[in-house]
């Protein structure tokens, strides 16, 4: 059951190993590609950077949109408010103007209905004059003069009393003509210089005339005439000046129903051509708010009609005035946005750090683990990340346990393989040797039999070696000598053996019983088939930190195909010997010392064969022996070799 479980684990691990190898290969490719300028810009960012970037981008976008919307909203509101306040101001001013004009109409009505209609000019001239004087005195703040003209244009009465200019010819003056044009109405003229009286001040007055046709009774005869009430333009001017105080380009003007300007803050500039006004268009409008484009300037024009006169009070708000009013708001919104973005960026950093910190710590734990350390896996942060930490920690613990199990299992397997290989040597050889000894004793060659037994004893002593797999080279050579001595007796000195091994090699480690199968092969395949006296030479030397032990024979040799099959074909049928082939020896060396060590075979047909054992120079100590037998030394060496690669 356990074996099954381990097997499946191993299978899983092998699969995982394959996957890891594939993954690392892909990673390598990606790295090399990036190195040459591949995905440098699309390199995945850290989680905190990503979070912060996304948060900041979203918050800045929202800020920009809300700032823009806020500005539009504010500007629309401000525009509406400006228009509304302008309308209110215009309504108030319009009412003031109407009040003023009504009071002038009342003066005119009073003069006409209470004075002129009730009096006869020839009989009551004095009374008319004094009553006009009373009326004038009561309204002189707003009035310039009151005058009554007959149908010839001659002055009948005037207040204040002043000398009439020499031949002013009132019949040619606009106010007189207008009064005659529509006899039932009162007429308000546009402002003009009063050209009627000479009060001795050498001054000319700017007036607005209210004229109407009247019925005059003179000596009982009724006739028509014209009543003139000249209003001081300064009053209208003052009212308009009061609202024309804004410095942002907004202004108000007054025009009659034909667009003739009555008051304009830039009246003379307009007359001189220094400025202009779209008054005729404004005069054609009914009361309301209009869009206007005058000389390339967009404006809002608000029109308010003054009752009784048909005059239009016009308010003009250039769009630049709206912008002027919004400049401060614009700065304020930009400032607000900048400060909010500053705060948001800081807040985003804190939030992203809080979110990413547990993940980063967990990642650091994983990286440390991958680097070969055994850190405490970070467990903290949000519930999901804590669970992830727990899970990773548990996985690592399971992996560790499995790794330990696998190592133990592998060691055991190797040992059993080694033991199995070594155990293949003994039976056949022992049978042949004992057969030879028997034969010697029967033949009475007791000395030779005794020598052979002693050599066999040495052979087995070394073969046993307290059950060690790794022995020193001295013992291995002794084992080889004993074996060759036995074989020489068996083969009746059909070959000669020479040992040429450097003494300095004796103290190094070697896998037990590796020379013997090679020597056996040399005897069986190299010497046995030849008629000449065979020669087998065992040599040993140190080359570049490696120990090379070679067995050379002068036998029949092999072709290159056979040489190549020698170390690969495990199923090869041995014609002679113990059946322990070079494959066996080669495997044992590789198991103990590593895959880069083993046997090298060189052979030429009819020339002989050289089989060389190549092993690392490891001094024979108890510690090294144990390490080699446990496979740890070999693993340590591998790790030491890998380290520089990682660095």
């Amino acid at each position: 059951m356990k074996n099954k479980y381990l097997k499946s684990k191993c299978g899983y691990d092998m699969q995982g190993e394959n996957q890891n190898t594939e993954k690392s290969r892909i990673t390598e490719r990606v790295r090399s590609w990036e190195k040459y300028g591949g995905w440098t810009n699309l390199k995945p960012k850290g989680i905190q950077t990503t979070l912060m970037g996304v948060f900041s981008l979203v918050s800045i976008t929202i800020m920009l949109i809300s700032g823009f919307v806020m500005y539009i909203w504010f500007s629309t509101l401000s525009r509406e408010e400006t228009v509304q306040s302008t309308q209110k101001l215009m309504e108030q001013t319009g009412e003031s103007l109407e009040d003023y004009l009504v009071s002038m109409r009342q003066v005119s009505d009073t003069v006409y209905y209470n004075i002129i209609k009730e009096s006869d000019f020839s009989k009551q001239k004095q009374e008319i004059q004094s009553r006009m004087n009373l009326l004038y005195e009561a309204n002189k703040d707003n009035l310039r003069s009151i005058a009554i003209y007959n149908h010839y244009g001659s002055l009948l009465a005037a207040e204040p009393v002043a000398s009439q200019k020499e031949d002013p010819d009132v019949t040619q003056q606009d106010w007189y003509i207008q009064a005659l044009d529509e006899v039932e109405n009162m007429h308000f003229s546009t402002p003009h210089i009063q050209n009627l009286f000479d009060d001795g001040t050498q001054h000319y007055y700017w007036v607005t005339s209210l004229s109407r046709m009247i019925e005059i009774t003179d000596s009982g005869v009724s006739n028509w005439g014209v009543l003139l009430v000249d209003m001081d333009y300064a009053d209208i001017s003052r009212m308009m000046n009061q609202i024309n105080t804004l410095n942002n380009g907004e202004y108000y003007y007054l025009c009659d129903s034909n667009g003739e300007i009555i008051y304009h803050p830039r009246q003379i500039q307009i007359s001189n051509g220094l400025s202009g006004e779209n008054s005729s268009l404004a005069a054609s409008h009914k009361d309301g708010v209009y869009e206007d484009d005058f000389k390339g300037e967009r404006r809002k024009v608000i029109v308010n009609t003054i009752s009784y006169t048909g005059w239009k009070l016009v308010g003009v708000i250039p769009y630049s005035a709206f912008i002027h009013g919004m400049i401060d708001v614009r700065y304020f919104i930009i400032l607000l946005m900048l400060l909010t973005v500053m705060v948001l960026v800081a807040l985003n950093r804190v939030v992203s750090a809080r979110i990413s910190s547990p993940i980063l710590k967990l990642n650091a734990s994983v990286l440390e683990y991958e680097a070969g350390e055994k850190p405490e896996v970070y467990i903290g942060g949000a519930e999901e990340i804590r669970y992830l930490g727990y899970s990773i920690q548990k996985s690592y613990e399971q992996i560790d346990e499995l790794m330990k199990e696998i190592i133990i299992e592998q060691n055991e397997r190797r040992k059993s393989e080694l033991d199995a290989l070594q155990s293949q040597i003994n039976p056949h050889f022992l049978y042949n040797t004992l057969d030879s000894i028997t034969w010697m004793i029967e033949d009475g060659r007791n000395d030779e039999a005794a020598f052979m037994i002693s050599q066999l004893a040495k052979l087995f002593r070394i073969s046993l070696s307290k059950g060690h797999t790794v022995i020193n080279i001295r013992d291995e050579l002794q084992h080889a000598r004993s074996y060759m001595n036995i074989q020489k007796i068996r083969y009746k000195n059909a070959f000669s053996v020479t040992f040429d091994v450097d003494d300095s090699l004796y103290a190094f480690c070697i896998v037990k019983l590796v020379l013997q199968p090679i020597l056996e092969n040399a005897i069986n395949y190299g010497i046995n088939g030849t008629d000449d006296c065979g020669e087998i030479k065992i040599s040993g030397k140190m080359e570049n930190g490696l120990i090379i032990l070679s067995v050379t024979d002068n036998g029949i040799g092999m072709c290159s195909e056979e040489v190549s099959r020698l170390l690969t074909d495990e199923k090869r049928v041995h014609k002679h010997g113990s059946g322990v082939g070079l494959v066996n020896v080669n495997n044992r060396i590789k198991i103990v010392f590593g895959k880069e060590y083993g046997i090298v075979v060189e052979s030429e047909p009819d020339e002989g064969t050289t089989v060389s054992i190549c092993i690392p120079a490891v001094l024979y100590t108890e510690e090294n022996r144990k390490a080699l037998e446990g496979g740890n030394l070999h693993e340590k060496e591998n790790e030491q070799k890998k380290e520089p690669q990682r660095e």
Partner: protein
């Protein structure tokens, strides 16, 4: 320091800088709203002849959003007095000066010194030391043309024949450049027609010496006055029949001049556009103060001929309007 932290600090610093710049910008903009101050120095500034000029200057100040201050002066100024006034105005923060140059040889030199400190615009012609007209910027009507126009009006009234007619010229300070130019214009026309210019008198008007001079001078058919003060003084003489029946023509720009035209004391009046003189001089100076490298330039304003019949035309009513402000 990690990259993320570096970027964070950089972004915050950048935003902080932007806030600082914006606040500074707002602060500076508030301060920038301070208006330039232009001082106007004219002789006898409260006289009615300057009413239209001052109204024009006021309108230009409103249009150009500039502050204009008319220095109060009584009577004519000497070069030294004018210099003192200019220095005082500059010390009080005047960014530009509009000045009616005092009559004197050193005036141009003095004004050129002033011009090194602040831009200056003259509202009357000024003779240079070499006798030619100054190259300093002047805003005003063409004096020579006005003189010619006045003489041509006389010529028109006489049916083109004024041969042998006796004419007297009256002006303020004779050696003033404007008066000289106007007289030159008048003479150019009249002398060509062989009119007899018997005399030209000039005097200080503050003491009514001119009136006396005019009354005591030899009897002439026509008197032509070359400036507003002389014209008003002559009009007054005429109203009291002290001109011995001489018909009066003149150059003037006050309501009194119009009044005497209206009452028939003056036959014809040539009126320089004083509103525009005031408007243009302030506008020109204001532009030069606001525009880098822009220097004030010479501006010529128009003039009109007014007779009693056209006194209350729409255009002339507007002239009277500017004078009544």
């Amino acid at each position: 320091m990690k990259n993320g932290k570096k970027i964070f600090i950089l972004v915050e610093t950048f935003l902080g800088l932007m806030v600082f710049v914006l606040v500074m910008f707002m602060f500076l903009e508030k301060n920038e709203k301070k208006q330039e101050k232009i001082s106007v120095i004219i002789q006898n500034s409260d006289d009615s002849q300057w009413a239209a000029f001052k109204y024009g200057a006021k309108m230009a100040a409103a249009d150009k959003k500039t502050e204009v201050f008319v220095v109060s002066t009584a009577g004519s100024l000497s070069v030294q007095e004018e210099e003192n006034l200019i220095e005082r105005e500059i010390a009080n923060g005047a960014s530009g000066i509009i000045v009616e140059p005092a009559n004197g040889e050193k005036t141009e030199k003095m004004l050129k010194e002033v011009e090194k400190k602040v831009p200056v615009v003259l509202v009357e012609s000024l003779a240079s030391s070499d006798g030619t007209e100054t190259k300093m910027p002047v805003t005003g009507a063409d004096n020579y043309a006005m003189g010619k126009a006045l003489a041509e009006e006389l010529l028109k009234d006489c049916g083109g024949n004024i041969k042998g007619k006796k004419i007297g010229l009256v002006s303020g300070e004779e050696n003033a450049e404007a008066i000289s130019e106007r007289a030159e214009g008048v003479r150019a026309v009249l002398e060509e027609k062989q009119a007899d210019i018997l005399w030209q008198i000039s005097d200080s008007f503050a003491e009514d010496k001119e009136k006396n001079s005019m009354e005591q001078s030899e009897k002439v058919d026509f008197i032509m006055t070359l400036d507003n003060i002389s014209l008003v003084a002559a009009g007054e003489c005429s109203s009291t029949n002290n001109l011995h029946g001489a018909v009066l023509y003149g150059i003037g720009h006050s309501m009194e001049a119009f009044y005497y035209l209206d009452t028939g004391e003056i036959q014809c009046l040539v009126v320089p556009d004083e509103f525009n003189r005031g408007y243009q001089s302030v506008a020109e100076l204001s532009d030069s103060l606001r525009r880098f490298m822009k220097k004030p330039e010479r501006n010529t304003v128009s003039y009109s001929t007014v007779r009693r019949e056209t006194l209350f035309s729409k255009e002339n009513q507007e002239v009277l309007f500017t004078m009544s402000q």
